[in-house]
Each structure stands twice: as structure tokens, then as C-alpha cells.
Amino acid sequence: MFVSSQTEVTPVRFGVVVFPGSNCDADSYDAVRSFPDTEARYLWHKDTEISDLDCVILPGGFSYGDYLRCGAIARFSPIMKSVKRFADEGGLVIGICNGFQILLEAGMLPGAMHQNEGLKFVCKQVNLKVENNETSFTTGYDQGQLIKVPIAHHEGNYFIDEDGMAQLEANRQVVVRYCDEDGVTTAAANPNGSLGNIAGVCNRDGNVFGLMPHPERVCDEIVGGVDGRSVFESIINAVAK
């Protein structure tokens, strides 16, 4: 008699939101699909049914042409109501670059983004330090680990008022910071003027994470690095638990 040794694995389900002007949706989709036992589907900004998902990705791009302020219009998309409800119920949400800006404008993460200090669009590889490896998005990294991830943005200059910053620090909501090769968070290693060299923050409950760098672009040796893989691996492990 043939007995299968395989056990049924429930796949981890990702949804990648596509706004008019998103352009990192396919990269995000490919990144998560490169892991075994994952499913992914694109979500149009007019969709509203996402309750079957484990994690929603708001990808990078220029949603709604960055009109008014980056992310300001996307937050009124029908899907954002569902994403907010999904997060309120504990679902994992990650916003990358423009996705981070949308989460800020939607009030799902604290703070605001304004123009890079140097006024230029900055597109380059940066060093990041993992400041909190206990979130659902970073358990795959060591505490304090240095990683190389690309950035590509014009409005990545993170701002939050003093009280807000104190709360971020007290609750360990700063997840990644820009740093130099040695892991020191110097002004020279800060590509955009962000307060405290902040590159990514999470909400207080730890289930919503936004970052300007693009982990989905460093998930395969063929594109020059794999330092971003652990973000998605961490999510998969968090869901599988």
C-alpha cells in the first residue's frame, strides 16, 4: 500500500494592492511567490474583499501620480477601508516606499513624509540596521544586523514630533535605520534627512510595518542581493505560527 509522507501545508496568502501608478507590484508578487507554500494575488484598488488573506502588501510606485502629497489620494481608495479593517483585526500589512507613504497618510502609522533634504530623487543601495528583530516582519534577522537594500524615492524624509518620537523609541517601533558600513547611524549615511535616520517604523501593535527601502528588490542573487528575503520569510513564519 502506498502511504504518502507529505502533509498538507496551508499556504500563506499574500495580497498585493495595485493602485493606478503602482510600479513595484510585480516585484513584490514575485518576491513572495519565490517562497514555497505561498499564494499571492493582485488586489485592484477598487476591490474590497480581502478577509481570506494573511498579509497585504502596499507596493512602491507613484499612486495617483503623487498628486497633492504622496499617498494622499490612495488612502481614499475603496480597498484602503478594507486594509484598515484587516489591520485592526490583527492582519499583517507591509507598505514599501509609496506604500509606506500611504500608510502614513492613512494614519495607520505615525509621522509624515516630506521631500528629501537634498531635493533630489535618490536611487541607490543603502545600509540598514535592524533595530528591532522581534516584529512579525524582522524575526528572520539578527538584532542589530546590517543589510543592504536599495532605495528609490523623492519623498522619504521622515518626520514626527518630539512626543511621537519619544513614543516610537519607548515602544521600539523604529524597525530599521539608515547607517554606514559599520552600523553607525551617521548624518552622512542618511540619504534623505529622515529624523533619527529612520528608514522604517511599525505601529504599536506590531502588525503594520512601513519602510522606504525596497526589500522586494533584493530577493534573488540574480538582481544583486538577497538581504530582503528575510522580511518575507519572517512574515511567512509569523503567519505559520
Binding site: L68, A112, H114, Q115, N116, E117, N157, F159, G193
Partner: protein, 79 residues
């Protein structure tokens, strides 16, 4: 009724555009210019009524400005 909305970076928030303009003005012979701040100007028409001011205030809070980094002022002009 017309609303004229002025949006500026909050005091204390670095305004790189304003700073760049400020540094350029001396090249044209304008010395001593400080505190250049670049903002946005938005015009819109809305129905007349007592609640028009309240409505514009709400619009600014919810969409036109980001109160975390921007201040706003507006005036209502009867047409």
C-alpha cells in the same frame, strides 16, 4: 463662494525648497532675505452658506493639508 487656501510647512520643519531659494536670491543681488518657505495655494468654489468655513476647515484637516507637517490658512471670498 470661493475659498483661497494657503498651505505652508509648519514652523520648525525643514523646508529644503525654501532654503534653496533663499540661497539663490543673493546671486541676484537680493541680500538679507530670510525665512523663505514654499507652500501650496489651492482655490476652490463651494456652495454659499454659513457652514462654508467649517467645511473648508474640515477639507484642510482631512485632505488639503497634512497637519503633521503643514499649517494652513484660508479666506472665503463671496462671488
Amino acid at each position: 463662494m470661493k475659498a483661497k487656501v494657503y498651505i505652508t510647512p509648519k514652523a520648525g520643519i525643514l523646508d529644503p525648497q525654501g532654503l534653496t531659494i533663499e540661497r539663490s536670491l543673493p546671486a541676484l543681488g537680493f541680500e538679507g532675505v530670510t525665512n523663505v518657505r514654499v507652500g501650496k495655494y489651492i482655490e476652490l468654489d463651494l456652495p454659499d452658506g454659513e457652514s462654508a468655513g467649517e467645511a473648508v476647515d474640515e477639507m484642510c484637516h482631512q485632505l488639503l493639508a497634512n497637519p503633521i507637517i503643514e499649517d494652513f490658512e484660508f479666506e472665503l471670498v463671496p462671488e
